[in-house]
């Protein structure tokens, strides 16, 4: 059971180590899917890329401010 628990913890930490980062990524993907359907697929792609870059920068800076 200890091995199974460790495997589940590993899987969780692989994909959701930082809850805000994970939620941000999922929100961007949802917004990009909506933009692809409602505006144009290319607009969805631009939103996806820009959103991921901003989420990364925001997550790193948020952690830096919290650790000050």
């Amino acid at each position: 059971m200890s091995v199974l628990r460790d495997v589940l913890e590993e899987l969780y930490s692989m994909f959701a180590a930082d809850a805000w980062l994970s939620l941000g990524i999922l929100a961007i993907v949802a917004a990009s899917a909506a933009a692809s359907l409602l505006v144009s697929p290319l607009a969805g792609g631009v939103l996806l890329l820009a959103g991921c870059l901003l989420t990364l920068a925001g997550s790193v800076l948020r952690m830096a401010i919290r650790r000050k």
Partner: protein, 246 residues
């Protein structure tokens, strides 16, 4: 040429990412060797590799049943969650906000922890040591399996991705067997930074493909996306360092 535009990054991503994971697993396996010898270390490692093979052989054929766009979307999202997590942590380590991964310290701690547990239990000491090796190889191997599937399954690149991972295993095992101590000289955070950039780029690329995005330049867009992630990661690390120093 077209095939290698995505196959080469897939092979390189799997190689570098697996290198990092295998180095981490090797540290624990060597701690087991130091305490109880090669037998439990090899038994635990082989058992974990066998279980990982079963997982791959079971899950691999199922992936072929999923429609390509749905598969690219699902894998792309998982890659974004995984890759951006790595890149975030590597940026924070580069900024000095999170401590660097120290294989020598991990090795010393693992030897002490495992030694204490073995001493507590009079019987089945080899079993405890073997389980430590099993868990280390299984947990690090899970990440290797995910990376190979994630960068390979989106466009039939499982062979180059698998070869990249296999190459990393061979390189680390050969060096580990030769030097017989944790590979603490490996620039782990630099490698993690590079892997984070590569996995995040594949994540955006596959997610976009799954959503029907017509990337300008088609497969070559992967390199442009990678350059943007690299720049953002480096700038974020520099900005975080300044914030922390204030």
């Amino acid at each position: 040429m077209g095939y290698w535009t995505t196959a080469a990054p897939a092979l390189a991503s799997a190689f570098v990412a697996s290198l990092v994971e295998v180095v981490e697993a090797l540290t624990i396996v060597l701690a087991v060797v130091a305490l109880r010898g090669w037998r439990p270390a090899i038994a635990g490692t082989v058992a974990a590799l066998a279980l990982l093979c079963v997982m791959v052989l079971t899950l691999g054929p199922l992936l072929g049943l999923v429609p390509l766009h749905a598969l690219q979307l699902a894998i792309g999202i998982l890659l974004l969650l995984f890759g951006l997590g790595w890149l975030r942590k590597a940026s924070l380590r580069a900024a000095g906000i999170v401590a660097l991964h120290d294989e020598d310290a991990i090795y010393t701690a693992e030897v002490a922890e495992l030694g204490a547990e073995v001493a507590r239990r009079a019987t089945s000491q080899d079993w405890i040591a073997g389980m430590a090796a099993f868990k280390a190889v299984l947990l690090e191997g899970l990440e290797v399996v995910f990376i190979v599937i994630a960068v390979g399954a989106g466009r039939g690149l499982m062979v180059p991705a698998g070869l990249g991972a296999l190459g990393a295993c061979i390189v680390v095992l050969l060096i580990g067997a030769a030097v017989h101590k944790p590979l603490s000289q490996v620039p782990e955070n630099t490698l993690k930074f590079v892997v984070g950039v590569m996995l995040s780029s594949f994540g955006v690329f596959w997610t976009g493909e799954g959503l029907g995005v017509p990337w300008p330049g088609e497969d070559f867009a992967l390199f442009g996306i990678g350059a943007l992630f690299l720049t953002t990661g480096l700038l974020s690390a520099a900005a975080a360092r300044r914030v922390a120093a204030r």
